[in-house]
């Protein structure tokens, strides 16, 4: 068979699910960072506030996108019936709990002066569920026996790292919008450095993911596809990783210790690109999910995907 003939790919999960996974990651990532910073004390108050502001809504909106993707949204209430075996059911509970915690945390942190242990407990639990949420977005795919590309074991790692990165970038973006330069200069500077390091980490993880995929015949099909996608190579790898990486270093380098002379647009652009990249990553991984070849008696059977003719045109009906 001609190698250029593509095996069939899954077509059921597209943008909607990608956005759901993306926002899940962003929410989880942002909240984690916020909460962690929260423990670290006052200096980072701004980033914490922004992070908390993002966590809950991101999850909420994300869930709506999943709902929109359901064939029978009316039955979404049943989504949690089988947590014992199904990751969607588990995700349902994880996200629900996480949303409640994130919401509580936000309200308590912003509108009450309840603090101390109560808040710490909530934050602690929140972090756990935030991390679970991030992991879930990857494990969901990792548990799909039908798509070998997702099952190489690396996808959850990729998604967690990307979740932290995107969460991080969201916070930076938020800060550039809400905060007063003076206050946050220093924090932004360190965050830029952190961002650069995280992005570098994501690059490593992605490269590892792809080479792992190339090792096996079925995932290879997907890996080849993903590398043939301009949106992935340019949109994600270059604009979504390389460019932000450079920008963040520039921001870091161009700033005096006290954070004077910060260029907010530079931060914003870097963060924004990083976010778009994160979304593209998830969408690419989804739509490049090739079905496994079926092998028997020395034959490899692939569901061949040749362009199907569109629905027939009306043509002409015989006079009635």
């Amino acid at each position: 068979m001609d190698p250029k003939v593509n095996g069939q790919i899954q077509t059921e999960w597209g943008w909607l699910v990608a956005i759901y996974l993306f926002l899940g990651g962003v929410g989880g990532g942002a909240y984690t960072i916020a909460a962690v910073n929260g423990f670290m004390g006052e200096g980072l108050a701004l980033s914490t506030r922004v992070g908390l502001w993002i966590g809950f809504p991101a999850l909420l909106i994300g869930s709506l996108f999943l709902l929109a993707d359901l064939g029978s949204p009316m039955r979404a209430v049943l989504a949690g019936m089988k947590p014992a075996s199904s990751w969607i059911a588990r995700g349902f509970w994880i996200i629900t709990v996480f949303m409640i915690l994130a919401f509580l945390h936000l309200v308590l942190y912003l509108y009450t002066d309840i603090g101390g242990t109560v808040l710490d407990v909530i934050a602690g639990a929140g972090i756990v569920f935030a991390v679970l949420t991030m992991a879930y977005t990857g494990i969901l795919l990792g548990a799909s026996k039908g798509i070998p590309f997702w099952r190489t074991g690396v996808v959850p790692v990729v998604f967690v790292v990307s979740a932290v990165v995107t969460g991080h970038f969201t916070i930076m973006l938020g800060m550039t919008l809400f905060g007063e330069v003076a206050v946050m200069g220093t924090s932004l500077r360190t965050m830029a450095l952190e961002a650069a390091i995280l992005v570098a980490l994501e690059v490593l993880v992605i490269l590892f993911f792809l080479q792992a995929a190339f090792k096996l015949p079925d995932p290879r099909e997907s890996a080849e596809r993903i590398l043939r996608r301009r949106s992935f190579v340019v949109g994600y790898f270059i604009l979504g990783l390389a460019v932000p990486f450079v920008l963040m270093l520039v921001v870091y380098g161009s700033l005096a210790q006290d954070g004077a002379g910060i260029s907010l647009p530079l931060v914003a652009v870097g963060a924004l690109l990083g976010l778009v990249g994160g979304l593209i990553l998830r969408q690419s991984v989804l739509v490049c999910g090739a079905l496994p070849t079926l092998n028997i008696a020395g034959f490899q059977f692939r569901r061949i995907a040749r362009p199907k003719e569109r629905k027939p045109s009306m043509g002409m009906l015989p006079p009635q």
């Binding site: 064939g71 969607i88 039908g146 059977f301």
Partner: protein, 208 residues
């Protein structure tokens, strides 16, 4: 209690698509849905090339990964080992589709006509639409159910009845003396992707 299973004799099968069509008509499935499907493979290089057809359908796994991932419990296993989707429990998340290594599941947003849009449905398509929406449904996962309605009536699955080469044999795996059990034993029947641990109940006999 029987454990329904199928044997597909690749030596007999000549890739004629009768099973595919029989399934489509028996279940009135809309365009793009192939509960029964034929894959065509080729091996060896000229002049020692051989082509072979591989009929696939839901393998009615004993350990169905589709059921495992189903969050609502819509996907279930009947006592006689058939994996089914309970329409009114399915929320259409399509996770099961991602989880089936055999590509046996399909979901359609809405029933579609085979003819250009804007034409009135023919009486046959009216019927097909109704039958599909009642039995299988839209916005939910659908799959081969081993024609359990027909089995209940004592008929064979449509694809089995249709096969001109008698390449598909349906029967009770629980009964060691059933034709399927004997064929599997005598001809070393294989399943697809045994390493995945789904324990399929559709067995294949070697093509040559």
């Amino acid at each position: 209690m029987p454990r329904w299973g199928m044997v597909i004799d690749l030596k007999r099968c000549y890739g004629c698509y009768a099973c595919v069509m029989a399934c489509k008509v028996a279940n009135h499935s809309p365009p793009g849905v192939f509960w029964a499907r034929i894959l065509k493979g080729e091996s060896g290089s000229f002049p020692n090339t051989v082509r072979q057809a591989l009929p696939v359908l839901c393998m009615q796994c004993d350990e169905p990964s589709c059921m495992e991932v189903c969050p609502t419990g819509a996907t279930q296993q009947t006592d006689d080992g058939i994996v089914i989707v309970e329409q009114d429990k399915c929320m259409g998340c399509k996770y099961c589709i991602m989880a089936c290594p055999y590509g046996a599941r399909y979901s359609v947003e809405k029933w579609e006509s085979y003819f250009p849009d804007g034409l009135p449905l023919s009486p046959y398509e009216e019927f097909a639409k109704r039958a599909w929406e009642e039995k299988s449904g839209c916005g939910v996962a659908t799959k081969c159910d081993f024609c359990r309605d027909r089995i209940a009536e004592g008929r064979e699955p449509a694809c089995v009845e249709a096969c001109p080469a008698d390449a598909r044999i349906f029967g009770d795996l629980a009964d060691p003396n059933s034709e399927v059990s004997i064929l599997i034993k005598q001809n070393r029947g294989e399943v697809l992707h045994p390493e995945l641990g789904n324990k399929p109940k559709v067995y294949y006999l070697a093509p040559r």
